[in-house]
Symmetry: C2
């Protein structure tokens, strides 16, 4: 099943088909395998049976490989609030899961093509094998008592014969005889019953496995001669709450393990073509946003800022927490270090979230003035969904909203507006953009949060898969040059890493939560992605495809392709099925693949 | 949580409270324990952790007991089509289940009070203990290879030293030394790593268990001095498809294992105060219904017919399948044997399901005439929901429906009508009953099947728990003297016992399916009850309570109690919560408990 399907426990079975994927280099493509037991074969109460899932490497005819465990990964789709969402990693190349009677389980298979993978046709398979009830993951269980008993008996057997050197020969032999008969009894223990019969050779065991019923899913990936740019074309900046991390993992702000945790989150999110910023909320909607926890002159800072996968970074406006001169000094020093670097063009300052009145506008102006005193080309990002109250226009009108750039200029360069304001009126994009001065470096970015809601594209739990993916189609069509999301880990406070995930009250489920702590699902501390996060990645990859196509045929033609295939026509008109997405991607491949000439099957 | 709660995977946690139940002798009362992990503690991917569930006996101060495993049972509530429904038995007194992150699991606890249990206050507890991740059901796993390796090494160690007698002493000692060092190496295997440290004593292990976090639920049951009659006051006759049993369990009709399977089903259903009949459907709506698979003169037949828990039994009209004289003879013989027995008053003939035209009415008349020629006091049951087409009245009118007794008399004694016909018009009951001649043994029974539907009482999956239980409240209030249900095991055909359960197309989920084959959930062949079947039992038990109360205070007063407590006022007005049910039962207990004088806590 495609990656945009929400495969619930009640999903109906359908015929098994070979999987053929198209992928660029530096791209991830995913599909799902839905498993539903026709019969139960486990003797274990409540479980239909266990299956082993095994993936091979994907190999090309020239011997190149997409290696399982690295480029090919398998994850189990786990429901959150009854909706398939969390992707819990399975061991590679072989792992085992239980199937439940009358329940469909889904496995999320991802192929992540390395940046330098040779183009070509890669073939492999995923084999699902029903495990014999008695084999139990090829493990046989020994009760703790049984094992301790065995150990004790072997130990006492040893005690009898050791040391033999200091004993007279006769006694030594007698002791050896006694040990021998103990040993004989040990081998007659029920523990070894299965070892005593004819089936002791490992050949016989292999034969057992061969007669296990198993199905094989053919997986074929066409890697084509296009490489998604390491640096995403569209900066997608996503907030990660430092407070949530500190609380849940019990980390002291600024301790070594705090830095480690931030490091891990930063690194992990980069694979999703996302440019993370850490954030802490102040009074009202003040926000301290920073991509790098280290000062700009710290050797580690450059690792963060220079990472080619980072498309934009937030520079902390430090005085937000302490308003002393030292803090002001440190802001100046920070800016002075950064503005000399080549990555300075990726920098932005995110100072206030959704200002709603002139007092808040004034605060932004003051902070912005200070920043731009140190670096006149600094970019300030401001999010908003309405005009300010207290101005001449009623704040809730579209006119007041559209006039915000006039009020915030030159104190904001990135005008970041909520998609919710547009409703289904795509035509109003023109009104927004017309107010901007791109010649002076002004940009239009957008964001989604608790709005817009159904049927418009957003990332709430329970929305359709294509609705999740369509957020980025919308951004590309509307022409925004960046995107902001307020929070990727903003679930309710907890103080135990493995505590149950609760969404925040008052927010739609899934809003502000795109991944989960690994500890909730296993002993791993690696974050667990949501299917929504994977669909965000897919959307960001779609943007690179569309950009490639536009670069050759123009944006009008790319928009027309998107429409012709029925992928995305507007916030209320986009495909509900996966088919058109693959067709559009194949069209782009056909039109742009001048490299290897590999035909796409 | 009460037995009428549908505890889904998303059920919110709520405070733990002691459980106090009131139960008569020969009654079953059930509650549910909802478990939701606050944290994950398993190292096993996707599982929050394992808990051990242990129940004690319930003991009275005079030393009487309700024994766990017999009178106290625990079952896991398993979802069917996403709705909590199947009750899969857990081992007693201790079992173990896995909890999943963000998912609520429910345990169904039933106390079944034996017929001869001394009244009194019984106390016990259910203890839920989180299992240590490494303990894994107190089992440690050994891979098959590991175990075979261990066996092989011990065996070769033994081969070296056996026999020693025929060896010179020196060689014997050398061999013993060699074996000793092998043995030493074996004890250093990773398998025994946990045995080598300090924690080898079983005391230490017990201590480990003690520090496991555990919660205890106090369970107190007041058994009062009222015994539900062994023979249910209201005959509730339920169909069991012999075809479904034959297909799924691959049984030859009439073979020994076929008889065994029917036996098991008969016996198992009796515990639910249900009088089963096996059935096979003929052309159109002809039905062969029989409670006992043996001929009346077979020694086994009396075991079936004389069982005091059976309130009514179907006598097969044999010629339904073969229309020869032999078959006719066998009907006569069957009736002649049965009519001489004291249990004959429980007999009925169910010949045709829902006749809709005069031709079908004629068939019923012919069969009925034949039966009554052999036994003039035989009772024929006919189900219907409309008048016949082809008669003077339009068949779909209420008038035509109400006049059916006039057309079928004297060929039917039990007029069994669909509750669906009444809609919310309880007052129409009078019109139906007025047409009957109770002085000539005519009775009014009812049935539900695919209708009525929401919000009226029925047993479909996804309805409220009180809606399930209300079916019997309705019967009692309306005054019918019996009840029929068409099928308890009528899921889709399958030919493997453990095959997935599929509801029949075109029927509301759960309609015709009140229990599941045990093989779907474990290796047991004992049927798995649905929560709906348990609620049917509760409803049938409520009828006995109401009958007891009526016998002392009159039916009017009983109806008024039911209304006062808000339990049941009509098919669209019954309690949605459990509270009123317990209050009404306590009222009846207070008003009727003249025996022991035990106050109900």
């Amino acid at each position: 099943m495609p990656s945009t399907a929400n495969v619930g426990q009640q999903e109906s079975p359908r015929p098994l088909e070979p999987v053929a994927l198209l992928a660029a280099r530096n791209e991830r493509e995913s599909i799902q395998i839905a498993l539903r037991p026709k019969v139960s074969w486990s003797t274990n109460s409540g479980i239909a049976g266990a299956v082993q899932i095994q993936s091979t490497d994907l190999c090309s005819s020239t011997g190149d490989r997409l290696v399982v465990g690295k480029s090919v990964t398998l994850r189990r789709v786990v429901s959150i609030l009854g909706v398939p969402d969390a992707l819990v990693p399975l061991d590679a190349p072989v792992s085992q899961i239980n199937l439940f009677p009358g329940e469909t389980s889904a496995i999320w298979v991802s192929v992540t093509v390395p940046y330098d993978q040779p183009p070509g046709q890669y073939e492999g398979q995923i084999i699902v094998t029903a495990m014999k009830p008695d084999a139990g993951s090829a493990m046989s269980c020994l009760s703790r008592d049984e094992k301790h008993q065995l150990y004790k008996e072997l130990k006492s057997c040893l005690d009898v014969v050791e040391p033999l050197d200091d004993k007279p020969l006769e006694e030594a032999v007698n002791r050896a005889k006694y040990a021998t008969s103990s040993l004989k009894n040990i081998l007659l223990l029920p523990t070894f019953v299965e070892c005593r019969d004819d089936h002791t050779s490992s050949d016989a065991m292999d034969e057992d496995n061969i007669i296990n019923p198993s199905i094989s899913i053919k997986l074929s990936v066409t890697v084509w001669d296009f490489t998604l740019p390491l640096t995403p074309s569209l900066p997608a900046v996503f907030g990660v709450s430092e407070t949530v991390i500190e609380d849940r993992f019990c980390l002291q702000h600024g301790s070594q393990s705090w830095y480690d945790a931030l490091d891990r989150h930063f690194e992990w999110l980069l694979q999703y073509r996302i440019s993370p910023f850490f954030c802490r909320w102040g009074e009202r909607m003040r926000v301290l946003a920073y991509t790098c926890p280290w000062p700009a002159d710290h050797p580690k800072a450059d690792n963060y800022y220079s990472d080619p996968r980072l498309a934009a970074y937030a520079v902390p406006y430090l005085p937000i927490q302490t308003c002393t001169d030292t803090a002001k000094d440190s802001l100046r020093r920070e800016v002075e270090v950064l503005k000399s670097k080549s990555h300075w063009k990726k920098a932005y300052f995110y100072l206030w979230d959704e200002p709603v009145n002139l007092e808040q506008y004034d605060t932004i102006r003051n902070m912005s003035s200070e920043i731009r005193a140190y670096a006149p080309d600094a970019r300030v990002l401001t999010t908003y969904y309405c005009g300010p109250t207290g101005a001449e226009l009623s704040s809730s009108t579209f006119e007041a909203f559209v006039k915000v750039p006039g009020i915030l200029r030159p104190h904001t360069q990135i005008f970041c507006t909520s998609e919710w304001v547009l409703g289904s009126r795509e035509d109003m994009v023109k009104d927004i953009v017309d107010e901007l001065q791109p010649e002076n470096g002004e940009e239009w970015w957008t964001y989604v949060c608790l709005g817009p809601t159904d049927p418009h594209p957003n990332w709430h739990l329970g929305m359709r898969g294509t609705q999740h993916r369509a957020v980025m189609w919308r951004v590309w069509k509307e022409g925004g040059t960046g995107f902001l999301y307020w929070g990727a880990n903003c679930y309710e406070k907890a103080t135990v890493p493995s505590a149950e995930i609760k969404f925040r009250r008052g927010l739609p489920p899934g809003d502000g939560v795109l991944f989960y702590p690994g500890e909730v699902f296993s002993s791993s501390n690696e974050p667990v992605a949501s299917v929504r996060l994977e669909r965000i990645l897919s959307g960001l990859q779609d943007i690179e495809y569309l950009k490639l196509y536009s670069s050759k045929y123009g944006k009008e033609e790319a928009l027309s392709l998107m429409e012709r295939r029925g992928v995305y026509l507007g916030p209320e008109r986009y495909t509900l099925d996966h088919g058109p997405i693959d067709l559009m991607r194949a069209d782009i491949y056909q039109a742009c693949n001048f490299g290897t000439g590999i035909p796409f099957a």
